[in-house]
């Protein structure tokens, strides 16, 4: 007598993980399957003993101390108290030369001057920044059962009980998003410095688009506003000096909070013509596991890679490594003189097996290092749906491997494919740690954007560890809020610390950050601390009496450098109303507004889908590739769904 039902289905049955229909089906099948009945009896006994044994395990007196409990209970009762921390004495003020004057924005005066750089001034800044950084990842998983494409390794598929509480976005499964806690307004007298790393990733936009096109609103934590805003390129003038990028600041009224101001910081990397692109040493690391089988995964990966290879020439080399249950080199590093060999190798790839991303990553980096081109583009391009289910699947360990490998000078591009199974947070983390960028590709059009129009930006890093620090003038700005970039916040002292990793900028890339500013003197309800007993609050410098709104400082390293360069500008507000803002600012503001609505943000103010549409249309510009018009379509879809 052979057993018809698979073991994992019987286990799921015994531990109550099957939904009603499956449960009934198993029960019915059991009637005519004596072997399975025997297995079920054994599993029941095993489960019972396991439960008992585990409950017995471990000392029962493992408890929090009374002091620890007290701290928790106190915190639960009242607002967060500010813990006092001792910090080393203030660093002296010192002066630095800004090396270059970069771009000028039309609406504001941008001055590159002898800038005063302020060391970290107070423990509170460090603390609040620290709090931001330690936001706990929270994963949202939801779904209707196992992935259909795991059939090969699992046999018959059990389907699982749906917990209605968890399944708040039905129809998508096992996608992981980190919890985003939006940046709150900060009081300038208490937190004068805002410090963060740039982020050129755009994956969240493509992901949001996928949800909307499928007819659901995206889960709030899938919406990373900075990635939405940065999906679009803006018409910032490229740098004219020998700095790798220019900076552009514009300040105007805030469309969703008329009494506030909206400030935009825009960076633009220098543009590179196709024939200027340095020689490339690329290693494609392609996930060919069973889950990659659907049309929008491996077949799309192959199309995207073909698109890329066709733009490469005799100075470029490509190797192809694949991983599934095991990893292997499909094509050793080959000159693109022989494009056909590369294209043929791509064509032959097929999917099957489970995913061990860890070993594949090791292999890909080894190949990239062996074929390293000094002064060239050395990059691993990882294409996956991110579901690493065998081998090194511990996210921390993968991240560690990549962090280690990034030191070799090989950069990483992570490209997420497919729907329903994208481990968004894993992939973004891998890219961050690997000096890399992260894109999400759901259609061939998107592949064209990443590997066609913006190939230079994808492949060629022109500056790394780009950090932004803004010091606000308390005489002008009462409070500020950085929109998005929640997982890119740095401690104030990290700005001058060259060992602290930050984001990269690629050739021709634009990076945009928006701040919502509350002018000084306006009332805003912020959690406050009691006045200090031993110190007087802020003493203003002479510069505070000027109309300067803030000082913008940028730090970056050349791609192969270890020491950072500093750029510094002061910004004034010329009181422009939002109606007079540039088309680019209008469009960026509409995208941010859209993001806030989707995130159900507390800060969305008067923003509505209709308002977003109106501003987006005003900010349409010439929209050469149609991306902005597509955005407007998405807003309409979201409006219809809400």
């Amino acid at each position: 007598m052979t057993q018809q039902l698979s073991d994992d289905k019987l286990v799921a049955y015994v531990v109550g993980e099957l939904d009603k229909a499956e449960h009934k089906a198993v029960e019915k099948a059991l009637k005519s399957d004596a072997a399975a009945r025997h297995t079920v009896a054994e599993l029941r006994a095993t489960a019972k003993y396991s439960r008992q044994a585990l409950l017995e395990w471990g000392p029962t007196d493992l408890k929090l101390s009374d002091g620890q409990r007290e701290v928790i209970e106190k915190r639960a009762r009242g607002p967060r108290m500010t813990d006092v921390q001792v910090r080393p004495a203030k660093r002296p003020w010192y002066r630095l030369h800004a090396r270059q004057i970069v771009g000028l924005a039309a609406a504001v005066i941008v001055l590159a001057v002898l800038a005063s750089i302020m060391g970290p001034r107070s423990a509170r800044v460090l603390e609040t920044a620290g709090l931001q950084k330690s936001i706990s990842p929270f994963i949202v998983q939801h779904g209707l059962g196992l992935r259909e494409d795991m059939g090969a390794s699992l046999g018959a598929q059990p389907s699982f009980v749906d917990d209605p509480n968890l399944n708040y976005w039905p129809g998508h499964n096992t996608e992981a998003y980190d919890l985003i806690v939006e940046n709150p307004f900060r009081d300038v007298t208490q937190d004068p410095l805002s410090t963060f790393s740039i982020d050129v990733d755009t994956a969240s936009y493509a992901n949001v688009r996928r949800f909307l096109n499928q007819g659901t609103l995206p889960p709030p934590d899938a919406v990373r506003i900075e990635e939405l805003v940065n999906y679009f390129s803006y018409d910032y003038a490229p740098p004219d000096g020998d700095t790798p990028f220019s900076a552009h600041v514009e300040v105007a009224g805030c469309p969703w909070a008329p009494e506030h101001r909206l400030a935009r910081v825009g960076l633009k990397g220098w543009e590179m013509a196709a024939d200027e692109r340095p020689a490339s040493n690329l290693v494609f690391l392609l996930d060919v596991s069973g889950s990659m089988r659907p049309q929008n995964k491996l077949p799309l990966v192959k199309k995207a890679m073909r698109l890329l290879v066709k733009q490469l020439g005799e100075n470029d080399r490509v190797a192809i490594a694949v991983y599934a249950g095991a990893s292997g080199l499909v094509l050793p590093s080959t000159s693109c003189d022989d494009q056909r060999a590369v294209l043929q190798a791509l064509k032959r790839l097929e999917s099957g097996g489970s995913t061990n991303g860890g070993a594949g990553i090791q292999l890909a980096y080894d190949v990239a290092t062996r074929n390293f081109i000094d002064g060239g583009v050395n990059r691993v391009i990882l294409a996956t749906d991110g579901d690493f289910n065998v081998g090194v699947t511990n996210q921390g360990e993968l991240v560690r491997i990549i962090e280690e490998k990034a030191k070799s000078g090989v950069f990483l591009t992570v490209v997420g494919f497919g729907m329903g199974n994208v481990k968004d947070s894993t992939l973004e983390k891998l890219a961050d740690k690997g000096n890399g960028n992260y894109a999400y590709i759901d259609t061939f059009l998107e592949a064209r954007k990443v590997f066609g129009q913006q190939l230079g930006a994808t492949l060629v890093t022109i500056a790394k560890d780009v950090k932004i620090q803004i010091e606000f003038n308390p005489a002008q700005v009462g409070a500020y809020r950085l929109i998005g970039y929640e997982n890119r916040i740095l401690a104030a002292e990290d700005f001058n610390d060259d060992t602290k990793d930050a984001g990269e900028i690629g050739a021709g890339h634009t990076v945009t950050a928006l701040y919502e500013l509350v002018p000084a003197g306006q009332d805003i309800d912020l959690p406050s601390v009691d006045p200090l007993r031993y110190q007087r609050q802020t003493r203003l410098t002479r510069a505070a009496a000027t109309p300067e709104l803030f000082t913008l400082k940028l730090r970056y390293k050349d791609p192969d450098a270890d020491v950072s360069q500093l750029l510094s500008f002061t910004i004034e507000d010329d009181d422009a109303p939002f109606a007079q803002a540039s088309e680019d600012l209008k469009f960026a503001a509409s995208v941010a507004g859209f993001g806030m609505i989707l995130r159900q943000s507390d800060h969305k103010g008067t923003a509505t889908f209709d308002g977003v549409l109106e501003i987006a249309e005003e900010g349409l510009g010439d929209d050469r590739y149609g991306y902005r018009r597509e955005f407007i379509e998405l807003v309409r879809k979201a409006k219809a769904l809400s």
């Binding site: 073991d7 286990v11 799921a12 531990v15 993980e17 009896a41 054994e42 599993l43 029941r44 006994a45 095993t46 489960a47 019972k48 003993y49 396991s50 439960r51 008992q52 044994a53 585990l54 017995e56 395990w57 471990g58 000392p59 029962t60 493992l62 408890k63 929090l64 101390s65 620890q68 701290v71 928790i72 209970e73 915190r75 639960a76 009762r77 967060r80 706990s136 990842p137 929270f138 994963i139 949202v140 998983q141 196992l146 992935r147 795991m150 699992l154 699982f160 009980v161 917990d163 509480n165 968890l166 708040y168 499964n173 096992t174 992981a176 579901d387 289910n389 699947t393 921390g396 947070s425």
Partner: protein
């Protein structure tokens, strides 16, 4: 937005009552130390104090376990305890006074079960304990461990089958229930 009807105070208190012990054990297994585990669990509940009950309450258990796990992994990293438990290696809790699992068992069958669990890869152990000790659903375990439902299914099945094999050699399991 709908609010949880109870006060924050009472809500956190109830969570503390229910999850203090299991979270401490979970954190102790990751950090290998009862004192570190206490710090981790304290941090977990402090984070809960800052959370919005309306958002968290519907999935409180996976939320707590996820925060606890991430915090514990951070702490372990900081403490230089990077070595994960290898196959066949029993855990040692040098400062916490927690012995190898099997020693805790008063009953021979239970000792056998715990001994098998000790030999499983760490991930299997974790998923298995979350299922049978902590009573999480597969879906919740997937959230906490950041793996797919299919992976959880595989891990729990493999672990339970391994234990069954061991027990089978000692008794007629099918007659036991």
């Amino acid at each position: 937005m709908k609010r949880a009807p109870v006060s924050k105070d009472a809500w956190v208190g109830a969570a503390l009552e229910r999850y203090e012990q299991p979270l401490l054990h979970y954190a102790a297994r990751i950090t290998g130390n009862a004192d570190l585990a206490r710090d981790v669990v304290q941090d977990t509940f402090l984070k809960l104090c800052a959370a919005d009950p309306a958002e968290v309450d519907a999935h409180l258990a996976p939320w707590l376990y996820t925060v606890c796990r991430n915090r514990a992994l951070d702490v372990r990293k900081k403490e230089g305890r990077m070595t994960t438990l290898q196959q066949g290696q029993a855990e040692a809790y040098p400062n916490g006074g927690l012995g190898p699992s099997a020693l805790a068992a008063r009953n021979e069958t239970h000792a056998m079960v715990l001994a098998v669990i000790d030999t499983l890869p760490h991930k299997h152990q974790e998923a298995f304990r979350l299922k049978f000790y902590d009573g999480l659903t597969y879906r919740e375990i997937g959230q906490v461990m950041d793996v797919s439902l299919g992976t959880v299914n595989n891990l729990v099945t493999a672990a339970l089958m391994a234990i069954r094999e061991r027990l089978r050699s000692e008794m007629d399991l099918a007659q036991e229930v």
